[in-house]
């Protein structure tokens, strides 16, 4: 094998009392796609931030082409040919595609030569075999298109090491395929790609080598051919993983929710399904399938244009979340950070937010002792790991934050609970706990709608699965007839 382009040697980084990275080494060779795996908190993002100059390592060295270098900021990293594409692309919506590609260049002369820029941008996109109008405004580009712009930007900078941090998290399967095609083109050009993903099947379809981190430490690097999903997961969690948690079978109760012909112009069309008490109805589909929009329409954040919703036999029109909560609906958002929790405020405050009026006396004053009691009850019930419930929600780990969001909604005693990607971005242990909670709630007779992009999760947890694609309901499968293949085929529009 040739010499590595980029080598991280014995990197350590500490934040306060947390050892984020301890003596981690990693080598990237030209023309390889290198997957980096690890649970949340394993140190993947810290390692990337060291590579791109956002953090400086406490110990260890970064070697580029056989020379030790220091990287002080993202700009220096860029000059060394190291670029990163983040989950959320860094796009300037008011500039056009070509400008987005070149805006970071400091050396394009003292005057903007528009024509030349358009030509060069078009050349780069052509190298990627992409058709995208270089003059169109970046506002309104799809996420996939934005990522293409990011890749073009990286190429224009003569990138030698490209870091892709969960680039597929928000892409549809079709878009993922296209992204991988691009990655292979880059690889053929000798670019070294560090690829981070939680999706095992993607990792094995594209990576040449796989490195696993655990608790900030290096665990293993193997050629992809020598790794199996089971062995990789064993490395990540350091223990054998039991079979996926599965929902307990139970005879469903009364009809709770009935949705008929629900439509919203240009968003979703003619959605029909029922939820009975004690049932989990899974919503499968790729990103862009508009599952979340259906949930938001049920919860009163968006409004549907047509169709009917019947709750407990009563037709209802839900226009605001307040109304939805009163009717016994709860919606656990997919975006915990922006929509689920207010991070600087206490766990207690977050838990009692939707039900705060129940804690207020007739003068509108909040009874803080009762509030705290509620929070502590949930802390025990869902085993939220925190020294006390007055801590800011932002100090918790992802899994525990998700439990706080669940507590907040369980406290409203909903009859129908809508879960949107309930286990996204939380570690394997917390994931199993969340599944167990969902099962218990269903056992107690709650109706549950679970939107999830995690296929095994949907299959294991749901009594019935609604599959959506681009705003249309493609299939409704019973537990017995649902297989990964069938769900995926429907989600990709392959059914007759």
């Amino acid at each position: 094998m040739t010499e590595p382009i980029l080598e991280m040697r014995g990197i350590s980084k500490r934040f306060g009392t947390t050892q984020a990275l301890a003596d981690v080494s990693l080598a990237l060779y030209p023309g390889e796609i290198h997957a980096l795996l690890g649970e949340n908190g394993a140190g993947k993002s810290t390692l990337i931030k060291v590579m791109t100059g956002i953090h400086r390592p406490d110990q260890g060295e970064v070697w580029l082409n056989g020379r030790s270098i220091t990287i002080n900021n993202p700009l220096e990293a860029q000059r060394h040919g190291i670029a990163a594409i983040h989950q959320e692309p860094m796009i300037f919506p008011d500039l056009n595609v070509a400008e987005n590609i070149f805006i970071g260049h400091g050396n394009r002369g003292s005057i903007v030569r528009w024509r030349q820029m358009y030509r060069e941008a078009a050349d780069i996109l052509a190298r990627l075999d992409v058709k995208l109008d270089v003059r169109s405004s970046a506002r309104g580009l799809t996420l996939a298109a934005q990522q293409v712009v990011e890749i073009a930007k990286a190429l224009s900078l003569d990138v030698r090491v490209l870091i892709m941090d969960e680039p597929t998290a928000s892409l549809s399967a079709h878009e993922v395929d296209q992204l991988f095609k691009l990655a292979k083109t880059l690889k053929a050009n000798g670019v070294s790609i560090l690829f981070i993903s939680h999706r095992m099947e993607e990792v094995f379809s594209i990576a040449d080598r796989v490195t696993v981190l655990r608790d900030g430490r290096f665990v293993s690097t193997h050629p992809a051919s020598e790794v199996t999903p089971e062995s990789a997961i064993r490395d990540m969690v350091g223990r054998h993983m039991d079979d996926f948690f599965a929902k307990t079978d139970k005879e469903p109760g009364d009809l709770l929710l009935s949705v008929r012909g629900l439509s919203k112009d240009n968003v979703f069309h003619d959605i029909n399904f029922d939820v009975r008490a004690g049932e989990v109805v899974g919503f499968a589909g790729l990103v862009g399938s508009r599952r979340t929009d259906v949930a938001l329409a049920l919860f009163g954040i968006e409004t549907a244009d047509a169709g009917s919703v019947t709750l407990n036999g009563q037709p209802v029109t839900i226009r605001t979340p307040q109304q939805a909560v009163k009717l016994g609906l709860a919606y656990v958002t997919e975006d915990r950070r922006q929509l689920g929790l207010t991070m600087p405020m206490s766990i207690t405050t977050n838990i009692t937010l939707p039900t705060l009026h129940q804690y207020a006396n007739r003068f509108g004053l909040v009874q803080q002792r009762a509030e705290r009691q509620t929070a502590e009850t949930f802390q025990q019930r869902l085993s939220i790991r925190t020294p006390d419930v007055d801590r800011p929600a932002g100090t918790l780990s992802g899994g525990n934050q998700q439990k706080v969001v669940l507590s907040k909604w369980l406290n409203t005693q909903p009859r129908l609970l809508i879960l949107d990607e309930p286990t996204r971005g939380i570690d394997v242990g917390a994931k199993a706990e969340v599944h167990q909670i969902i099962d218990e709630l269903a056992q107690q007779g709650m109706g549950i709608i679970m939107i999830s992009s995690d296929l095994p999760e949907v299959l294991a947890m749901s009594d019935r699965i609604v599959v959506m694609r681009e705003g249309r309901q493609m299939a409704t499968l019973n537990r017995s007839e649902a297989t990964q293949e069938r769900v995926m085929a429907a989600a990709m529009g392959q059914t007759k």
């Binding site: 979340p321 207010t342 009026h357 207020a360 004053l365 907040k408």
Partner: protein, 326 residues
Amino acid sequence: MTRKLLSWEALLLFILIVVVLINVNLSPFYLGLNNQINLFQLSIEKIIVALAMTLIIINAEIDLSVASVMGLAACTLAYLHAHEQPFVLSLAVSLLIGAAAGAFNGFWVAYAGLPSLVVTLAGLIGYRGLALVLLEDESIGGFPEWFNQVGQQGLMGSVPFSLLLFGLGVVVVWVVLQRSENGRYIYVIGNSADVARYSGVNVKRVKMALFVASGLVSALAGILLAARLGAVRGSTAQGFELDIITMVLLGGVSIFGGSGTLTGVVLSILIILNLRNGLSLVNISGNTQTGIIGLLLILSVLIPNWLASAQSWWARRQESAAQVSG
């Protein structure tokens, strides 16, 4: 090393003591009851508006139009009085106009989703414009005797009216912020309006209510100002927003919303009152005082920023020192 070097309130208390000590040195009468009461009397209008503004800024909005609403309410009162309307009715209409002005701001912010900065900047110009339309370049006074009494002597029993009002305002705002359901919503919305909305909080209603309250309180303040001055012009209360916003921000309320305490705001009000008074004692003109308030406004955001960077610099130094020894 995440411990704070100094709490902002402690710093404010320290500054307050220093300002008072300097003032006492300058004038032996400084701590006299009359002088202290006088302090409140001369600024009570700004103070009560600052209390309302505290809620708005914690809610991550801003109301630049308060001084213009004060002027508009005062001018409405004078206009109606000059047109021989019953005085009590005129008072009621003025208050109503203030609430309406606030509701107009609130509508655009809460229901149309426009940034409050721009909406209330338009209000700052527009409401002042309406005040000018009413009085043109006249000055109108001749209010009833009892009305002027409220402003000029302002004693109800042995407690000055303005001090009473200040105390009442502080208690009300404290209870709202720290103990009430709506106060909690104000903080949560200030931190993240989306989280509040997704939790079933009626964000629009809270914002609307705050702007109406701000308009109403500003109108009340404008009326009090009219009573104290005895006459009103189109330019009455012009530029007051500077003092008012400074009182709130110096008090440690974050301009980005979501955090801040009433203790800080009360301390900063006391600092500004005593500072202005002390500057007057050494014959510094009102205009220069305004400049100094402007400086204070900038420093009230600049210094916490510096402290934060100094703190992280210190933390980094400690860390690297620990590494060398370890």
